[in-house]
Symmetry: C5
Amino acid sequence: MIIRPHRHWFLRLFAWHGSVLPGILFRLGLNLAMSLIAILCVGWYGSSGVKLTLAPFSLLGVSIAIFLGFRNSVCYARFTEARQLWGGLLIACRTLQRQALAICPHEVPRVTAMLLAFCYSMKHQLRRSDAREDLTRYLGDEAEIVLQRRAPTNYIELQLSQWLAEQRRQGNVSDMVYVSMDQSLNQLTQVLGGCERLASMPVPFAYGLLLHRTVYLFCSLLPFALVPDLHYMTPLVSVFISYTFLSLDTLAEELETPFGLANNHLPMDAMCRNIEVNLREMNNETLIPPAILPDARFRLV
Amino acid sequence: MIIRPHRHWFLRLFAWHGSVLPGILFRLGLNLAMSLIAILCVGWYGSSGVKLTLAPFSLLGVSIAIFLGFRNSVCYARFTEARQLWGGLLIACRTLQRQALAICPHEVPRVTAMLLAFCYSMKHQLRRSDAREDLTRYLGDEAEIVLQRRAPTNYIELQLSQWLAEQRRQGNVSDMVYVSMDQSLNQLTQVLGGCERLASMPVPFAYGLLLHRTVYLFCSLLPFALVPDLHYMTPLVSVFISYTFLSLDTLAEELETPFGLANNHLPMDAMCRNIEVNLREMNNETLIPPAILPDARFRLV
Amino acid sequence: MIIRPHRHWFLRLFAWHGSVLPGILFRLGLNLAMSLIAILCVGWYGSSGVKLTLAPFSLLGVSIAIFLGFRNSVCYARFTEARQLWGGLLIACRTLQRQALAICPHEVPRVTAMLLAFCYSMKHQLRRSDAREDLTRYLGDEAEIVLQRRAPTNYIELQLSQWLAEQRRQGNVSDMVYVSMDQSLNQLTQVLGGCERLASMPVPFAYGLLLHRTVYLFCSLLPFALVPDLHYMTPLVSVFISYTFLSLDTLAEELETPFGLANNHLPMDAMCRNIEVNLREMNNETLIPPAILPDARFRLV
Amino acid sequence: MIIRPHRHWFLRLFAWHGSVLPGILFRLGLNLAMSLIAILCVGWYGSSGVKLTLAPFSLLGVSIAIFLGFRNSVCYARFTEARQLWGGLLIACRTLQRQALAICPHEVPRVTAMLLAFCYSMKHQLRRSDAREDLTRYLGDEAEIVLQRRAPTNYIELQLSQWLAEQRRQGNVSDMVYVSMDQSLNQLTQVLGGCERLASMPVPFAYGLLLHRTVYLFCSLLPFALVPDLHYMTPLVSVFISYTFLSLDTLAEELETPFGLANNHLPMDAMCRNIEVNLREMNNETLIPPAILPDARFRLV
Amino acid sequence: MIIRPHRHWFLRLFAWHGSVLPGILFRLGLNLAMSLIAILCVGWYGSSGVKLTLAPFSLLGVSIAIFLGFRNSVCYARFTEARQLWGGLLIACRTLQRQALAICPHEVPRVTAMLLAFCYSMKHQLRRSDAREDLTRYLGDEAEIVLQRRAPTNYIELQLSQWLAEQRRQGNVSDMVYVSMDQSLNQLTQVLGGCERLASMPVPFAYGLLLHRTVYLFCSLLPFALVPDLHYMTPLVSVFISYTFLSLDTLAEELETPFGLANNHLPMDAMCRNIEVNLREMNNETLIPPAILPDARFRLV
C-alpha cells in the first residue's frame, strides 16, 4: 500500500509513486501514436465516405463510465472487505488474548504463539509464499507438521481449539467460559473463511474482460472521432480521456485481488507486526519488535 | 466458473473462453446485417421524410446504461450472496467439526459423513441433479431414505440435530455445550435457507424483460440513427455499441441464477471437494481426495 | 409472482404475461396520439416562435433516468427485504421445529400447528384478507380468540412463548435450553416486526409523486421535441422512450408494496405451503399437501 | 408522514397534499420571472457578445443530477435507518414484554409502564418537545425525577435495569434468564443510541450547502441558456426542469432530519400508540386506546 | 463539525462558515485567470488550427462526475462508519455502566473512570494528540503507565478486563454474568479496532490521485473549450462548473480522514463529554460537566 506522500493539492498533481501511471504509460504512448496518425490522415479521411463523429462516442463513453463505475465499486468492496477481515483478525486476537489473560494467565505465552502463527500463516497462505521461517519462529518443530498440511492455517486454529478443549477437560475453564472462548475462536474461523473466499473467487471473469475490451477499443477509436473537431488538439484530449478510463480499469483490476504485493494491495506484513506488538504488549513483554513503516517510496508492504 | 486465463493486458483482449461473446455472436451478426441494410437504404432514406437522428438515441442509450447498471448490481449481488453462503458453509462445517473434535472425538467420523452429505445434497438440490451417488458414498443405505424426501438437505441436518440431542440425552454434552453446537447447526439452516431463497426467487421477471426488450430494440434501430453521420463506419460503431449492451444484458442474466453450470456460475463441485479436504485433514485422515482444478478451457465446475 | 416463462432470448422479446405492458398500454396510446398531433402541427409549429428542441429534453431525460434508477433500487430493496424476511421465517420455523424435536418430541404437533398458524396469520395480516379458514385449520376453536385481536399474529407467538414458559415451569427444559429456544422465538418477532414495518411505512410519498409527475410530463412533451428532427419517425421513438420510462415507474410502484397480489408481488401462498411441507416432513407425517405451482399464465400467488 | 392519497395514476398527477410543491412554489415563481426576463432580453442578448448556450448546462445538469442522486440516497438511508430503529423498538418491547409474561407474570404491569414511558420519552427527546404529560401518565410522581435528567430516556431504561437486577437479587430470575433479558434491554440501548446519533449528527453541512447552491445557481441561469433555442417555450421547460431539481433538493433536506413534524417525517405519535396497543393487548387488558389514523389531509403525525 | 447555521433557503446560499469555499478560493481564482486568458486569446485561437470544443469535455465531465460520485460515496461511507463506531462507544459504555450498577454497585466509580479514560485515550490516539491531561484526570498516577504504551487505549481495556476477572475470581460475579459483561467489553474492542482500521487505512491512494488530477486538468482546459460558444460569459460558467467539481473533490478528501480537526470532521471532544454526562448522571453524581456547544462560527470540535 502507498501511504499518501504529499499533502499540498498542487504537489499532489505530480505524485509519481503510488500512481497507476507507470503501468499504463506504454498504452498511453500507443494512444498518442494513434492520435498523430489520425491528424495525418484527416485530409484523406474527410474526403472519403469513411468518417467518425463524436456523438456515438459520447453515448458509448458515458455508458462505459457507468459500467466502469459499477466495476470499481465491486472491486473496491472486495478490497474493503479484505481490510475489514484483517481488522477483525486484530479484534479476535486481542479478545482471545484478553480472555486467556483473565482466565488462565499461566497459559498465555502458548496462546500468543499460536495466535501469531495463525496470522503469519494466513498471510503466507493468501500470498502463496513460504511460511517456514515465520512459523518456525512461533511454533518451533511443530512448524514442520503445519507446513505439510493443505490447509495449514486452519490446522493451527484446530490446535488452539484442542488446547482449549484440554483446559476444559482438566477443569480449568467451566463450560460457560469454554463456550465463550470457543465463540472467539469462531471469529478466527470466519476471518480465515472470508479471506479464502476473496482469494479463491474473483469477480466473474467476463465482467473484467468486457470492460477491458470496450475501454481499449473505445480509446483506440477515440482519436479518429476527435480529429474532425479538434485537429491539432486531438493528442492532448485523447490521451487525457484515455488516461482517465485506462487508469480506472487498471486500478479496479488491482483492487480485485487485494492480497498481492502491488501498490494498492493490503500491507499484510505491517498488519501482522501490528498484531504482534499488541499481543506482546498485553503480556507486559519487554522485547517488542518495532512497527513496520513505509519505505522511501511511501510503500508499506 | 472461468479462472482468469491470461494476465497480460494485450492477450486478454482476445480471450475467447470465459467471454460471453460466443453466446451473442448470432445477435451481433444480425446487427451487422441491419447496419449493411441501413447503408444501402441511406440514399432513399435521406430523400424521404423518414429519418432517425442520433440525439434521441443518445438520451435513450444513457438511460438504458443507467438501468442496465442497476440490473447488473442486482444480479451481481445475488451471485455474491450465493458465494458468501457457500463460504459460510465451509465456516460452519469447520466449526462443527472443530467442536465435535473437542467435545466428543470418538463420534467425529459420523459427524464428518453427515456434514459432507449435507454439502453434496445441497449442491444437487440447487442444481436439480441426482444426488444418489454422492449420498450413498457418505450415508450408505440411509441415502435411500434421504432421496425420497422433498426437502432432502433439511432432512440430513435434522439427523445431525437428532444425533446431537442423543448425545445430550446420554449426558455426553452439557446443556451449555449442546446449545453452543445447536447454534452452529443454525448456521447450516441459514446457509440452506439462503440458497433455497436465491434459487426459488428470481429478480422480478418484468425487470429482465423490460431491459431485454429495450436493449434489443435499441440495438436494432441504432444503425439507422448512426448511418446519416457515420456512413461506411456504421457497422463498426453499431456492432461495438451493441456488443457492450448485449454482453451486459446476457451476463446479468447468467449471474441472476448462480447455481447452474454456465461459465459464470458457482463451481460447487470444487467447493464441496474443498470442504471434504478440510474436514478429512482435520481428522488426520490419510486418504484425502485431490482438489478439483480448472480444465484446459479454464473452467472450474 | 411470475415465474420466467420463456428462456430463448428471441421468444422472450414478446412475452406478454408478467410484463407491465398491459398496465401502461392506455398511456402509451395517449403518447401515440400526442405524437400524431405533433406531426400534424409541425408545419404551423415551425413557423411560429413556439418551438421545442431535443437538447433540454436530453438533459432532463438523463436526470430523470438517474432519479428513476435511485427510486428503483429503493423499491427493489424493499422487495428484497420482504423476501429475506420470509426466507428468515422458513429458517426460524425449521429451527424451532428442530429444537422441539430434539428437546420435547411429544409436544411437537402442537408446536407445528402454532408455527403454521403464525405463518398463515402473518400472510393474511399483510394482505388484509380473512384468516378465519386457515387459522381454524390449525388452531381449532382457539382461532376465534385470535381473530378478535388487533395484532393476531403477535398473539399466536405469545401463545408459543407461554407454551415454552410452561415447559420450563414443569422442568421439561432447563433455563439454558429455554433461553436458546426463546432466542429462536425472537427471530419470529423480528420477521413479524420487519414485515409490519414494510407494510405500514411506504417510501416517502413525495418521491413517487415527484417522479410520477416528471415522467408523465416528460413523456407528454417529448413528441413535440422530437418532431422537428424525426418527423414521421416521431411516434416510434416517442413511444419507445415512453415505454422505457413508464414501465420502470410502474414497476417501481409495484415493488414498493411487495405484499399484494400483483404480478411482481411475493407468492406468500406458495411460501406458506412450502413451510408446511417442510415442517410436516420433519415430523415424518404421511399426509403432506403438494407444493403450489405456477398456473398456466406462469403466475405463482 | 403522508399516507398515499390517490391510487389512480391520473389523479395522482395532481396530488397537492404530501407534495413538496407548496414549499417551493415561491422559488418556481422566481424562476418563471427569470424566464420572462430572458425572453424580453433575447433581442439585445443575441446582438451583444454576452450569450449562454445549452451545452455547458447540459454537462452541469447531468453532473448535478448525479450528485443530487448521491445526496438523496444518503438522506433516504438516514430516514430508513430511523424507521428501522423504531421498528426495532417495537420488536424489543414485544420481546421484553413476552419474556416478562413468561418469567414473572405478576410484575408485568410495571414493565409495560416503563416500556411505554421509554417510548414516549424517546419521542419527546428526539422532537425536543415536552414529555411531562406523557410521562406522568405512565410513571406518576416518578416522572418529575425523569424530567430533571439531561438524558431522561436513558434514565428510564436504567430503572428497568435496576428492576431486573432486583428480581435477580431476590432469586426470581436465574443468572441465565437475567442475562437473556439484559440482552433485550441492550436492544433498547441500541435503539436509543442509534436515534440519538441520527438526531445529533447531520450529513456534513458542506454537502447540502454545495448542492443547494449549485442547484439554485443552475436554475437561475437556465432560462438564459434555454431562450436562444426555445424562445416562447422557455418558461415551460425552465420551470419544469427547476421543479425536478428543486423538489429533490428540498425533499432530501426534509428526509435528512427524520424526527421532525414535516410531511415526510416519521409518524412517531402513531408508532408509540401502536406499541401501546400491542403491549396492552398482550396483557389481555380491556381498555386499549384506538390506533392513530391519518387526518383529512392524509397526514399521520 | 459545523452545525447548520441558517435554515432559510435564501440565507443558506451565502453561508460562509462550514463551506469548503475558503479552501478552494485560490484555485477558483486561477480558473478565473484562465478564463480571461481564454477570452483574450480567442481571436488568435479561432484562426489557428488549435481549437477545443465542448463535446469531448461534455463526455469527460459526465464521466468525471460519475467517478467523483463513486469517490464521494466511498469517503462518506468512511465518515458514517466512524460516526457509527463512536455511537457504538456510547452504547457500550452505557451498557457496561448499567451492568456494573446492577451487579456490583460499589465498584461503579472505578468502572466509570476506566470507561471515560478509554474514550478520551481513543480520541487522543486517533488525533495523535497528547492524552496526559485527560488520562491523569481519570486514572491518577496510573496514567503514566498507560502513556508509555504503544497501544494505550487497548491497555486501558485490558485493565477493565483484569478488574472483571478479579471480580469473578472473588466470586462477586458468576461465570454466566462474567461472560455477559465480557461480551460488552468485546464491543469496546470492536469500536477501538474499527476506529484504528479507519485511521490507519486510507482509500487506495491512486483513487484520490486519479480524480484529483483529472478534475484539475479538466477545470484548467475547460475555459478554452467554453470560449468559442460563450465568449464573455466564459468566466461565469467556467468558475461555476469548477466550483462544483473542486468542492466535491475537496470535501471527499476531508471526509476520507474523519478523525481530524477540520470543519467536517467528527466532534470527538463533544462526544466524549456527552458520554461523561451520561455515565455520571447514571451514577446520580451531582457535579456533571456541561455539554460542549458549537462556538460562534457554528463549529463543534
